[in-house]
Symmetry: C2
Subunit: 225 residues, 2 copies
């Protein structure tokens, strides 16, 4: 999926990215409807590339094409997030297992290590935005170590959704101190080649994260109804 975007910078690709960005920026609010023609004007192109981009985004679960109602930006419910985290838990655990079994040297593990360090630094500075970015990086790098392109692309799709949910919940949650400890432990397990340990640590880590974000989303929903 990522590779598909790097081909040529066509209008369809631009529309795809623009719409995606607009959704993440909240410019297209979750639950809102938008006519294809309206979006086309907004992006300065015709309906065709907008439609094609919308079709792609639909298959990624960011929006839905509803005949005569326009494209509907899908909201992220706690239930959706629970599903997503369950999938991420499994796929990242697989990645952790692969990584541990590869007996990687320090240079190959460097991206993970720096991500962890960055998270610590961000935490010290109470900079949650930076922390979230580094956290994303950690999980992303981990998944890339699986060198399974399917795992990677599913992960990227779902990370998008997680990032959307995190926008809402980031400042409701406590400081992710435990989370940072988790990362270090997982990292050490991978480094020492203990696949089973890496998997079980990572699984527990993700399950905690799931519970946290799902609860926060529920709270948030209560606040906003």
């Amino acid at each position: 999926m990522k590779s598909a975007q790097t081909k040529p910078p066509s209008n369809t690709q631009r529309a795809f990215h623009s719409l995606r960005d607009m959704i993440f920026a909240g410019e297209l609010a979750p639950g809102s409807d938008h006519l294809e023609s309206e979006l086309a004007v907004r992006l300065g192109v015709s309906r065709t590339p907008v439609r094609e981009a919308a079709l792609m985004l639909e298959s990624q679960g960011l929006l839905e094409l509803r005949p005569r109602k326009g494209v509907r930006i899908l909201p992220i419910s706690p239930e959706d997030m629970a599903e997503i985290y369950d999938v991420l838990t499994e796929l990242e655990s697989l990645a952790a297992r692969c990584a541990a079994e590869l007996s990687l040297d320090d240079s190959q593990l460097a991206p993970l290590a720096t991500a962890i360090d960055d998270m610590d630094r961000a935490l010290d500075a109470s900079d949650l935005e930076s922390w979230a970015k580094a956290d994303d990086r950690f999980h992303g790098e981990l998944v890339h170590l699986s060198s399974n392109s399917r795992v990677i692309s599913i992960f990227e799709m779902m990370s998008d959704q997680v990032r959307r949910a995190r926008k809402v919940t980031l400042f409701m949650r406590p400081m992710p101190v435990k989370s940072n400890e988790d990362h270090r432990e997982v990292f050490e397990a991978i480094r020492s080649g203990d696949a089973n340990l890496a998997v079980s640590l990572h699984r527990a880590h993700r399950q905690n994260a799931k519970k946290m974000i799902v609860d926060l989303l529920k709270k948030h929903r209560l606040l906003n109804v």
Copy 2:
């Protein structure tokens, strides 16, 4: 994704299904290129719905749109199949865990049970086609028990690919006796609510299947080069 198809029978949807079926039937051979306009004529519609359908199929990994080369039907390499099986292993294991934890009654477990019985019967009759169908059903039902719509749709996507690969390898493999035993064991573990056992049994089962099909695909590739 499945739900999207049930909306209205539009030309795009028809094209989507037709192309998919043609790919599975081998009518569009793996590795072959086809012009959009050519496919449009063949399906009796204009290029637009063909393009839209192709776009969807691209995001499902069945084909690739290559400017000026036409849509390329992606071949299924042993490497791809290994990736797919690794993902399926994790997601189905998750489903097995969920299923075991739900303490389902016999009526809810019935679809699994019949699938297993059908496999046995097919095996007795040495009817590999029927066996494969029942096997598909078993795995499908299992995944549906997860009631995780993401897991289900990823599974359905990847099952399509597996089915394609199986077309080629089904008659090269030995009788799946061991496979049937595996299914029964997994089933019993789920019924008795032993989640960990269900997971480990199922994981092992899928890893065996992976090795088998990947090896067969490699052999097949050697034969056809």
